[in-house]
């Protein structure tokens, strides 16, 4: 198989991974927005939804312009359908966050159902001198040290899903939730 062709597919697969990750990140953020009745988080979800729409279009165009052979049409149809699904998941997340933006006070049963010990959400910038800079999330041990866990990393207007191997960089904004007490601990780590 020519390398150029393979390269094109590497690119398509990467685009799909980004779509999938973003849609799953949105679900986490949407549930948190509901739990914390946080309009700010809910707005992040809405912004991400627009971002997913763009990614999805780019992804579909990349698939359609891959120069595929006729016998590969099925496999590519499967891929296009996967893309549609990530978009549907992103839509669902946006619908959940919409409940918060409409000013409907979340019913207590929702808190019980989401069942996590989240009291607060905080946005914390990582400064140059922070010990977190250039560490992976796994090495940073933020939950152990602060009782808060990272929902998302905002970097230059984009959102990174907090996989254990994701590296924290100076300038990042950590979106974290957890016990209110943990906020000052997180500040010490991120913005000393």
């Amino acid at each position: 198989m020519p390398d150029k062709y393979r390269e094109k597919f590497e690119e398509i697969a990467e685009q799909f991974v980004e779509l999938k990750d973003t849609s799953e990140l949105m679900m986490d953020l949407a549930y948190s927005s509901l739990l914390l009745n946080s309009k700010e988080l809910a707005k992040d979800v809405q912004k991400l939804e627009e971002h997913v729409d763009e990614l999805h279009t780019e992804f579909e165009l990349a698939v359609l312009s891959s120069g595929f052979h006729e016998k590969e049409t099925k496999g590519l149809l499967g891929l296009i359908r996967l893309g549609v699904v990530t978009e549907k998941i992103a839509d669902s997340a946006a619908e959940i966050s919409e409940v918060v933006l409409r000013g409907i006070e979340p019913h207590p049963v929702l808190k019980l159902a989401i069942e996590e010990a989240e009291e607060t959400v905080t946005y914390m910038q990582v400064t140059k001198h922070s010990e977190l800079a250039n560490k992976t999330l796994r090495k940073a041990c933020i939950p152990e040290k602060t009782g808060m866990w990272v929902l998302a990393i905002r970097r230059e207007g984009r959102y990174v899903r907090p996989k254990p191997n994701a590296e924290i960089k100076a300038g990042d904004i950590l979106i974290a939730s957890g016990y209110a007490d943990g906020e000052s601990d997180l500040k010490r780590l991120a913005s000393p």
């Binding site: 099925k74 891929l79 359908r81 549907k88 619908e95 006070e105 019913h107």
Partner: protein, 202 residues
Amino acid sequence: MPYLEKIEYKPISVRKLLVEMKNLSELMIDLAYSAALFNDRELAEDVLGLERHVDTLTYLLEMEIMIAARDVEDAEALTGVSKVAAAVDKISDAAADIAAIVTQNIGIHPIVSEIFERVEERLTRANVYKHSPLIGKQVDELNLAARMGVDIIAILRNGEWIIDPEGKETVADGDIFIARGAPAGVEEFKALAEGKLKKLGN
């Protein structure tokens, strides 16, 4: 046409229904991606079965919500619950759409599956057969995470799903485990469950 469960009101709390729907929808998404990327028909069928179950739960939840609303304030607050339930239902539908890629023999382009396998951990379905060395052991005691980097995310036992099982859960003959981990660990776990490997390594 698929079999549709008859819907009859059952007194189940809104909280219980919602927790189950949310947990199932998340499990279904994971299962469905794995089914599609690794072309696993059994996993795909499981997802389709779960989707029908979530549909039933959605009906029951709507009934509970209608019964619970006594006045305007209730109606306002419960509309939010209903919206969230609808979104969760939509997510489970999305998972079923992924599973259908497998059951309708469409499939995913092999180069993409291959690339994906490098970046994602894979899920597997492991049947526990009667000669498995795992039978009678508690999940904790197996220490799967430390031994082979495998996490148990669900058990299917007598047609019921146990999601995110507790460490005290004992492995029984006939259990079906859904496990996640790096490919080598997952293969080892599967061989143990099926009794092809007789002993737990270190």
